[in-house]
Symmetry: C2
Subunit: 230 residues, 2 copies
């Protein structure tokens, strides 16, 4: 389920398989909301207008803009991705906050990352809050799930190194950007999982002022993605 | 009001003027929550333990960790800041989302920004949600309010240039970092105000992949702060 005018616009634009679009009665006053529902309808997607109360019961976010779409999650197993797509990858290693994961996916799309892999323990990256925070990012890259052994296998086969964000790492400004890279981001509180920490061959960090414990993971990830992929 | 174990720890550590600390009954099982309340009490701050229901009615966030503090907002008018503090400044030009503003303040503190100025139209930077998202950042720099004429005046007097983040700007990777800088970040949807746009003498941007509309402002701000202040 994708909620909000912008996300639904992106879905339609990206040619996603849509099962239906729902418009709240009050949103029929919004030119942009009506336009995106009309566009979907023109592509043969069923469109329904429902009461605001019905819409609210279907929507999962606090501030629905009165438009949502039901779309198929693209089936994209890791094994189907080529070396090129794996060589510009971000690995979500146990991120828990939907807003953070959505923002990471949004940023990844902006900087030309091709693949986002959610490891077990990560919040479901197709959950509606994540999709909303990603503002359409899902439809510009591949978002997929994998176990750590599957991921490690795929990276080895493709010859792509695994790096990870960690306070113990080298300052990102001092590292040379590798031609292919999978970059892992760890859990908000606990950081990297043991398996990622053991398998990673490079660690990158962001030097911070004394007394500061950490950055928000979506911000840290954004700075690292800008340095390593943009 | 500051909520959460981490923020209250930072408050106590930073020597803020605390009026009181409130602990929920259930949080008395948390070693870290009890420790921070004890630490405050050792500094002469009144500490109360209340029922979980009473605590929930006092707290403003959805997931209180059972500890909050009431602290004085430091009085720090713009005119009292020296040229050095103004020369490492971030200007909030109408940011509306408390999470975004808190994250910007957290990142600013991490990269050695000295001053964060909220222009009119920005969400109150001392609001509890902002303070929580900033994870203690408020206590590592000055967070203050100013009208645009006051800000423009202070920057002129201190000889500090005003730059702004804008899609029309030069890619941040290509600009030379000025020795002193005030960097403005615009509203989530509408971007910069006309007055900031007119007064800014430099504009910086982050190049993005084709088809991507924008980044989250806290992420974009984080990348720019890392490039220009860290």
């Amino acid at each position: 389920m994708a909620e909000g005018v912008r996300v639904v616009e992106e879905l339609v634009r990206a040619g996603a398989t849509l099962h239906g679009v729902l418009l709240a009665k009050s949103a029929t006053a919004s030119v942009r909301a009506v336009a995106v529902a009309d566009l979907a309808a023109a592509h043969g997607v069923p469109r329904d207008i429902v009461s605001d109360a019905e819409f609210a019961s279907a929507a999962s976010t606090d501030t629905p803009q009165g438009v949502l779409a039901i779309a198929a999650v693209p089936d994209c197993p890791l094994g189907s991705l080529g070396a090129e797509a794996l060589g510009r990858a971000v690995i979500l290693d146990g991120l828990q906050d939907p807003g953070n994961v959505g923002t990471v996916i949004r940023t990844a799309a902006a900087f030309g990352v091709r693949t986002v892999v959610a490891l077990p323990g990560t919040v479901e990256p197709w959950n509606a809050k994540v999709v909303r925070a990603a503002a359409g990012g899902h439809f510009h890259l591949q978002v997929t799930h994998a176990s750590f052994p599957e991921l490690a296998d795929a990276l080895r086969t493709a010859g792509v190194p695994l790096w990870a964000a960690d306070a113990s790492g080298r300052p990102v400004g001092t590292v040379e950007r590798p031609p292919a890279l999978a970059l892992a981001l760890g859990n908000e509180g606990g950081g990297l999982s043991d398996q990622v920490r053991r398998a990673a061959t490079g660690f990158v960090a962001l030097p911070m002022a004394p007394g500061i414990e950490s950055l928000n993971v979506a911000v840290a990830g954004g700075i690292l993605m800008h340095a390593l992929f943009a």
